[in-house]
Amino acid sequence: MLDALQYQFMQNAFWAAILASISCGIIGTYVVVKRITFISGGIAHASFGGIGLGYFLQINPLYCLIPFSLLSAVGIGFISKKIKVAEDTTIGIFWSVGMAIGVIFIGLTPGYTPDLFAYLFGNILMVSQIDLVLMIFLNILIIVSVKALFKEFLAMTFDEEYATVSGLNVNAFYIFLLCLIAFTVVILIRIVGIILVIALLTIPAAIARQYTINLFKMMLLSICICLFITLAGLWLSYLFDIASGSTIILLAGTIFSISCGIKLLTKKLIS
């Protein structure tokens, strides 16, 4: 592993793992406690439309990915909160419509579409310097937002009604949280791809939740867990020469199972 780090793409992968873990730990915590895993899945899949558009316009798909994921975040939030369509219905619609747009654009793009597989299933080894700059920028945005609005987000995720009575514009905060999820999705797509994003958004935070009762500590812990999973997954995929994104997810799933087993055992031992 260490001698592999002499390669530029390995160094980029290493930094990408760190940057992804930070956003993933912070935002994944909100996704888990607010129980909005499938909204995140909807945002991720809908943003496939952006990737298709990027290919069609012959520009870096990441540039179209950001507006598309933001649009789907605002769209899902707005339609379910304001027009009162059931949230799961809204998610289903955005999920499939976004993917359909992507498929049409890719079909319209002449010739071969390189790296398409990497956007669907992720390839941490293909992270470029530009990607890293973008990741740093989005991470700063996420950290600053969450630090500044920590008490508002805590109130909104725990008790929307009380937050409203306290004068908070709950819908605006909710949609803003969905936008932060959209940014995280953009970061994570490079690592594990559209289809596997929800795994990395939920598993580290779900493991962390088993060991702490404090939201802030849960964020720190899930950052650490996410970092371990992505770096160890990267190393394993290098060792066995298998797909990095899927290795990371399988490792995450395994650790989650072990953690659940430990919880179950300690519960039995105590009682």
């Binding site: 008490k151 725990f158 009575v165 849960m218």
Partner: protein
């Protein structure tokens, strides 16, 4: 001004269904009003109208002489416990501090002043020792006290409680009512419950609510009123002061007015 809450011909209709029908009443300062009625009778809606979370379809409501939204800083609200995710990673201390949310602008953290107020509120409801406990690891009665403390932290003038004795054992129930009796010296309390058993020996005034409201500015409930509210004959058993109500049958006539 003596009247804290004034409702005048307030109707609430949600999706074409009448939830509250023609409510007119005034709630005075230092009243301790208990509102009883069957489940689904509109009790929670009634509180939400006072909080401004639900707008009346017709009629007029003022709280402290103003619109409900403007009066929210003076209202403490204790919602139904069943609304919460008890697994949420939050402890008692953080929940109580949340009561200061309206006093701190966006981007600002809770200040030292908020912390001393939280300490005071927790000591008042006698759960200071539980401050580091996760909210799910409390008994129903303890959890109820946490939410009362959260409502009290900003020194409200009006306290609204939604089913404060649901899922609470009878010993704890008495303690909660004792606490409320103590609090009523300083503020006006409106409490809704379907638990008719204990309420009448603790509150000053009783209203019955099942779509329509029956309120006589006193603590007397007549069998006729109860019959009108529960839509069925009701036996009133009086063992001294506490009343107990036995429903003889259900006739399923819900509030469609």
């Amino acid at each position: 001004m003596d009247d804290i809450v004034c409702l005048k011909n307030v109707w609430v209709e949600i999706d074409g269904k009448t939830i509250l029908q023609d409510h007119t009443l005034n709630i005075r300062q230092n009243d301790f009003l208990g509102i009883i009625g069957p489940n689904g009778g509109g009790k929670t809606t009634f509180l939400k109208v006072i909080l401004g979370l639900i707008k009346p379809s017709h009629g007029n409501i003022t709280v402290f002489g103003n619109s409900p939204q403007k009066s929210r800083p003076f209202i403490g609200y204790v919602p139904q416990l069943s609304n919460f995710d008890h697994e949420f990673p939050i402890n008692v201390w953080e929940v109580v501090l949340m009561g200061r949310l309206s006093k701190r602008p966006i981007f600002q953290r809770y200040q030292h002043e908020d912390e001393s107020l939280a300490e005071e509120a927790l000591k008042k409801v006698e759960i200071w020792n539980l401050r580091d406990r996760q909210i799910g690891r409390l008994s129903g009665g303890e959890r109820q006290r946490v939410f009362i403390a959260r409502a009290l932290i900003s020194h409200p003038k009006l306290l609204l409680l939604d089913e404060p004795t649901a899922s609470v054992d009878s010993k704890m129930k008495t303690k909660i009512y004792e606490l409320l009796s103590e609090l009523k010296k300083e503020l006006t309390i409106i409490l809704v419950t379907h638990d008719v058993g204990v309420i009448s020996s603790h509150v000053d005034k009783i209203a019955c609510l099942n779509c329509r409201i029956f309120y006589h500015d006193s603590k007397e409930i007549t069998p006729e009123t109860l019959e009108a509210v529960y839509h069925c004959p009701v036996d009133l058993l009086a063992h001294g002061i506490p009343h107990r109500i036995l429903k003889t049958h259900e006739d399923g006539d819900n509030c469609s007015c």
